[in-house]
Symmetry: C2
Subunit: 432 residues, 2 copies
């Protein structure tokens, strides 16, 4: 455990060390401990309760910006699981602390390690979506069940297993059910947690428990994104009698055409898309406004900034060109570019303890680590230089974000994923 | 009156003669008659009832494809006004006959002149629009009041005036409140009346009473239109992980851009517009479909056919180009082009009796006739070669198709318009 304690910066430095650690040895030490074995047995014994809790949480609707109902239930569960400092914060995140042995020391709290592990409360599904779970053998079908309802239940199962095994960690662990991970939620839960709330500046490492699947996927890269609602506006009028005046629809088309023709690098992966278009009142009216929802992403902050700048230039050019192409006698085309999403890019370096330990945990359970990029809760800590990764919790799933989403709670694969996550968490936090 | 009888083809020919008539003399003869004078006095006496009826009809909501409530009330009013053969037809037009003296003859009905005069029941305003009339002096504010609720009341006032003056006409007159004049209604009321219903082949001249204004506007040209809902479809997917696949949004943009760059003649006036765009599920998804509502119009059938062909070519090219520009590994872009509106172009020749008489009526009341093109109920008879015009009924109005639509029922101007319309109708039908 010494190597890990050094990695955690417990010899003075408040954050994780940058130097590689003997991660495999440390993870094997964790897994070989009596405490871990007892915890693994508890996870096994407790498995049906975990499945039942997954179903219960999935069946509480939690649409974007409507996570409160599920949040209140999860808050009560965190309390029942014996955490301290259980609370719902200003934006609706719910969380509680499992105190480590170091927290009884006398140093200022800011110098103590604090590991946060979070699953997100929100789904992509709107109010009114049927979230009733349909079970077929070990397959559970319901919108949001894999992304990310099961992970909420995984966190609870981990707390119970640690308690059953009487495991004490050195570092404090903050268990979080957070809001606003999906789409226009724009990571507002994480922004609150890391930029504003009472744990601001105190979290030394972060694990996002997000998604299911074999458990060997370690997300270390934060795909940054910029999202805009771009609305072209004009005087509008009758399609026939006002023919010849500028049209927001044609300005929109021009901007979209230029946007679609942009060249972006394959690596670092950089993408762009027009997701939704709208505007206009009737087939025989020149619209007053026409709009599009735009999404740009990149693994690289520099590339994201580059395409963002190109995008703004081409939108401005589309306005100028439409005002030149048709009559402005009744008014000009203008544009409103509203930022609707802003997720920073970044990467937790492969040399970081958190990455090394997660990879060692995957290897310890016979799988090969796969390092990937994604856009999720870890984006925020990564952008702040806080070591952060996103992990699956085993099992299998498909059709995330679709109404026919499902997970497989086949026991062996599911338990393996949960044990890998526990091994990473305990090695990182240090077992007493 | 002799010239008019010839014009009406009462000497054998079933339709109006092509030869110019001494229209001014005929209209002066009408206006100078004791019957017309009595009718004009009745219109004056009856004016407040006309205003009240305008308000009553306006306040019965009559959205596109929802004209039944207003239609039933109008049907009952036509019955109360003593018309015969009062009925609602298969699509919801309501109508009744005021029989002329020639209809008692023994010839086959197809050889008798039959003048149809129609106002449309429908408005552009959707279900739920507040249609309560707000009065400020002589100005009446309400959606649909000028287009075309007042004209419905004008037809009733004309029937009452003719009855009060004991006027008998030679030709039968069919009074019609019709459906589907606006937008996607696509003139289905007129198509039923002229192509399918029991008066098919029997109407020898047609007047559309549509809109208010000084009354000197005589619409003789039918602006033809073609309307389409064009939907580009593709595999869809995630904006990030599926980046590089074909996108319906970019295919749409390309088609719109090409469409906006088309050159059309200023004369015969030809126009094009994209009215509404839509499609897509979320900002971070590549859409499964993106669509536009397109409107093309021309005074000339040949020009309309030309732009229609160009449009279909550019839509097809946009599909091909998108499938070449991005990956089709997950599926191709396809397109569905659905015809949503098809109104024929055409023109009632200025030498036709109906045009000559209407112009003479305008001159007789001290105004200068203005001949224009429009797209309205007259399009259908014009396309069938049946002499047809569209007339205003005096007064003033503005903001048609907008929520702040209003009319001015200032008595002098309003009565003048109604008298001009009556003079045209009586001269055309022939007074006994």
């Amino acid at each position: 455990m010494v190597a890990i304690l050094v990695a955690l910066g417990l010899s003075g430095a408040p954050t994780l060390s940058q130097q590689p650690v003997a991660a495999d040895a440390a993870v094997h030490s964790t897994i070989g401990s009596a405490g871990f074995k007892a915890a693994a047995e508890a996870l096994d014994r407790d498995f049906e309760r975990h499945v039942a809790e997954t179903i219960r949480l999935t069946e509480i609707p939690s649409p974007p910006f409507g996570e409160a109902e599920r949040g209140k239930v999860y808050l009560e569960l965190l309390r029942q699981h014996g955490l301290t400092d259980v609370e719902m914060d200003a934006v609706g995140n719910v969380m509680g602390l499992r105190r480590g042995t170091l927290s009884t020391g006398s140093g200022p709290s800011g110098t103590r390690p604090l590991i946060a592990i979070a699953a997100h409360l929100d789904t992509v599904f709107p109010v009114g979506t049927n979230v009733k779970v349909r079970r077929e053998g070990t397959k559970l079908h319901a919108p949001g069940i894999g992304d990310d309802s099961r992970s909420l239940a995984v966190l609870l199962a981990i707390i119970r297993a640690m308690d059953a095994a009487k495991i004490q960690t050195k570092a404090d662990i903050l268990f979080v059910g957070d809001v606003g991970e999906e789409g226009l939620g724009d990571l507002r839960g994480m922004k609150q947690l890391f930029n504003t709330g009472k744990y601001k500046g105190r979290i030394t490492a972060f694990i996002s428990a997000d998604g299911t699947d074999p458990g060997n996927r370690i997300v270390t890269g934060a795909v940054g994104s910029k999202r805009y609602r771009v609305t072209f506006k004009g005087p509008g009028g009758y399609s026939y009698s006002d023919f010849g005046i500028v049209s927001p629809a044609f300005a929109l088309a021009n901007a979209m055409k230029k946007f679609g023709a942009l060249n972006v690098p394959a690596s670092p992966k950089t993408t762009f898309s027009v997701g939704v278009v709208g505007g206009g009142t009737s087939v025989n009216s020149i619209p007053f406004e026409s709009w599009m929802d735009v999404d740009m992403r990149s693994e690289s902050r520099a590339e994201l900034d580059k395409i963002d700048a190109l995008f703004k230039t081409l939108v401005a050019a589309a306005v100028v060109e439409e005002n030149a192409a048709r009559s402005t006698a009744k008014g000009n085309i203008t544009v409103d570019v509203k930022l609707t999403g802003d997720r920073p890019s970044g990467q937790t370096d492969a040399s970081q303890s958190i990455v090394q330990i997660a990879a060692a945990s995957v290897r310890a359970f016979g799988l090969t680590p796969a390092f990937t990029f994604s856009s999720n809760d870890s984006n925020i800590p990564i952008s702040l230089g806080i070591p952060a990764i996103t992990l699956d919790a085993g099992g299998a799933s498909d059709r995330n974000h679709a109404l026919d989403e499902w997970i497989d709670v086949e026991k062996t694969s599911s338990l393996r994923g949960m044990q890998m996550m526990l091994a990473t968490l305990l090695t990182l936090a240090g077992m007493q």
